[in-house]
Symmetry: C2
Subunit: 472 residues, 2 copies
């Protein structure tokens, strides 16, 4: 048996739910579904409750606690009605417990006997062309996967999911930008085994097109339609790219890890040991060694569904980078860390201070605009040198308003929506923010245990599966 | 009378040599030429001595002291012979005084009665096609200009020369990269007056072609032939661009000044008042205000003819800039100052210190080179962070060797030809150099009067004709 087979066998033993685990969750799901029917009946609502997702497809990984119960309504109901009725039924089932969430419809997320149940309303459709919201497709996905998978393929899917989790590319939410469970299932169906998926991924080209049901006669058409780093045409809906959420970053990481794993199979790709955070002294030494400047902006985390939150955070992070760069500061890297309470934007700058002198290009010599440019800048208080001719342009050196990045940020964040922060982030920043610069971040780091692991990864800057190879 | 006419009249009165001045130099030149004939006769050499250049063409500016006496040899002599014989005759005329210079032939430069005479050997040719070295053309130039100029045009030429001197674009030597006297004469012939030359220059396009004798039927052909910022086809030689020495910088400065002068005529364009150098305190304040870093490299000036010297200095300055930039330092501006004894390379840097961290791009993820890249950098002592995947490339941050510009320079200048300095400069630098950084340049500045005016212009960075407009 090859090393790879050996590793896979051991991993599979760990990630396959035991019969007891499986029986327990399926029995629980059955009971919950019966309760949904019962409560719907009492309300006189026609609805078919249905177990969907990885529990239904039996591709879940041992220890997963998420159960998706869809409430399938006939098309005779209105869009608003199924949201309202769905919530009402679900609340009755959970005895009023649970948290309301919002996607296209409102839905309920509630813990039942140690499992996290999502109660999601959707419309019954026969084919994707009829869909009214994207969740309507989910039952079709479940049906498709069930029809194409046997026991062996379920195991291969589990291996792929576990690998993706281990190397940090699993999850289609905006925060991760990785591979969804359905995408893992489709890849396994397409290539026939975990190992074959990895082998194929290593040789994927740019904008690889995977079109299992051959909805497109030419991959170029699919590329024009989707224009994503990876394109996996949904077998049940040609208008959808199942890999739409996958960023180039995660795709690249997955392919890099796949190649490495094939060359040198190891369980550590699946189960990376927990990273031990740098001590404060180690962090201080790292920062001295780098010689760069580090700035943290801390503020209260806006209360938003995760994807909305990460959309806002990403957009805001970009606006702040633009503000810094517009002021002449060079951003080496940026990062964001967000817990329920606090969010931290992290910027590493080439330097906290930059020179006051800034080149400002003027019109060509002897152009009609020459006189105005010279009259504006000659002997102006803001002029440091010039105006002078350089090659075929007038040039003047003017004084920058801000020569320190933190001063610029403090001023810019007084008007957070003015620099393009997302509105919810802007609101929170207006309520107050803290700025930590260089050595100040050390005390922040020492006070925030939760933050330490994240920042240790940021500053050492290695994928975790590489971090673990130290002593091999 | 317009303001412009008024200014021109006053300038003309100052720059036109008086009858006495003219008579004196022509008489002197006549005597010298007679002596050349006499000495040539004694040696049995057939040579026609001839007054050429601006004295012969009567386009010189009052106060000019340069007299060009060409010794025109028949083609029966060899290239080497006329060099040797020319020097021999000239030395006999000057009584052995004077300094040997080198262009295509050796020639003699000697003071006679307060004037600086150049005794230059050349071959007699009827037309440019026969020329054996570029000086052979000079008598043809003199003949051409004399045939095309009247008294009025001579005055217009003097105005143009004086204007170009005043705004710093006069002189075809490499150090200046500006307009030669012959070029001024041709421009005046072409446009008919000083004012018309300026007006035309303001509207010159990119690679303007001036072809007085219509040697080319299409300006595009001349552009393909010469490819310079300004193209003035030599009336006596279609293969020569009289403006070949004119850099884009000087051309732009001339055009900018021309436009300004036409809008606001003033004698100060012709006679810029002497700049008063900054005091040491003023310089220190300017440097603090700019917030940049300044580095001087001082070494002994190589003993070379000016054009060779400036070729070497320019090339060396560029190599040092490349060395700095290759090390990650950002050069804001560079400059060179050279006296007979000492030369100073001047670099203004965004910062003297840069962070140790340097991004190094690796292969794409999952490429065949991935493993070697990772094995090389993972846990290497030079690695600061990574390797990690960024988008579609592996990236690692490595430690720079030099984080201070002066340390880099001190090491690099130990092997001056290794970084591409011109060989004569490299030799001098090997004999020893001094490095002055930031506040150290203040004491250098205070000790070197000659240097102060140059550096004041550098740091205020305005054309001198703009400097003078302060209180208007």
């Amino acid at each position: 048996m090859s090393r790879l087979d050996d590793v896979c066998r051991q991993v599979l033993a760990k990630v396959t739910p035991t019969r007891e685990e499986r029986d327990r969750v399926l029995r629980l799901a059955g009971e919950v579904i019966a309760r949904v029917s019962e409560e719907a009946g009492k309300l006189g609502v026609k609805v078919k409750p249905m177990l969907v997702g990885s529990m239904a497809k039996d591709t879940w990984i041992s220890g997963d606690q998420d159960v998706d119960v869809f409430m399938v309504f006939p098309q005779t109901y209105s869009f608003e009605e199924i949201g309202k009725l769905g919530l009402e039924i679900a609340r009755r089932v959970t005895g009023g417990r649970g948290e309301e969430q919002y996607a296209e419809h409102p839905y309920l997320r509630a813990e039942v006997d140690g499992y996290m149940f999502d109660f999601v309303p959707c419309f019954e459709i026969e084919e994707a062309a009829q869909l009214r919201s994207s969740v309507d497709r989910t039952p079709l996905h479940t049906r498709y996967v069930l029809s194409r998978m046997d026991e062996r393929l379920r195991g291969e899917t589990r291996l792929l999911k576990a690998f993706m989790k281990g190397v940090g590319v699993y999850g289609a939410e905006l925060k991760t930008g990785g591979f969804s469970g359905y995408l893992c299932e489709l890849l396994t169906i397409k290539y026939g085994s975990f190992e074959s998926v990895l082998t194929a991924a290593v040789s994927w080209g740019s904008q690889e097109v995977i079109d299992i049901e051959r909805h497109y006669d030419d991959p170029e058409k699919a590329r024009r339609m989707f224009n994503s780093p990876l394109i996996v045409v949904d077998p049940v809906d040609p208008r959808r790219n199942v890999a739409a959420a996958v960023t180039l970053q995660r795709l690249s990481e997955f392919r890099a890890a796949a190649m490495f794993f094939l060359e040198e199979p190891s369980e550590s790709f699946f189960f990376p040991p927990k990273l031990s955070p740098l001590t404060v002294d180690e962090l201080a030494a790292k920062m001295r060694e780098r010689g760069t400047s580090m700035i943290f902006i801390e503020f209260g985390t806006p209360k938003l569904p995760p994807d909305n939150l990460w959309g806002q955070l990403t957009r805001s992070l970009q606006s702040i980078q633009k503000t810094l760069e517009g002021g002449g500061f060079r951003v080496i890297s940026r990062d964001v860390w967000s817990s329920g309470e606090k969010t931290v934007f992290i910027f590493e700058l080439e330097s906290r201070r930059i020179p006051a002198a800034k080149r400002h290009l003027g019109p060509p010599p002897a152009s009609p605009h020459q006189r105005r440019f010279i009259e504006k800048h000659l002997n102006a208080p803001s002029t440091l040198s010039g105006p002078r001719v350089e090659g075929d342009r007038w040039v003047v050196e003017v004084k920058r308003k801000y020569t320190e990045a933190d001063t610029l940020l403090r001023d810019a964040l007084k008007n957070p929506s003015g620099i393009g922060l997302g509105s919810y982030v802007a609101e929170k920043v207006s309520e107050g923010f803290s700025l930590y610069v260089d050595e100040e971040i050390l005390s922040y780091y020492s006070r925030n245990r939760e933050f330490q692991e994240h920042f240790t990864l940021t500053i050492t800057g290695k994928p975790r599966w590489l971090t673990q190879r130290k002593e091999e």
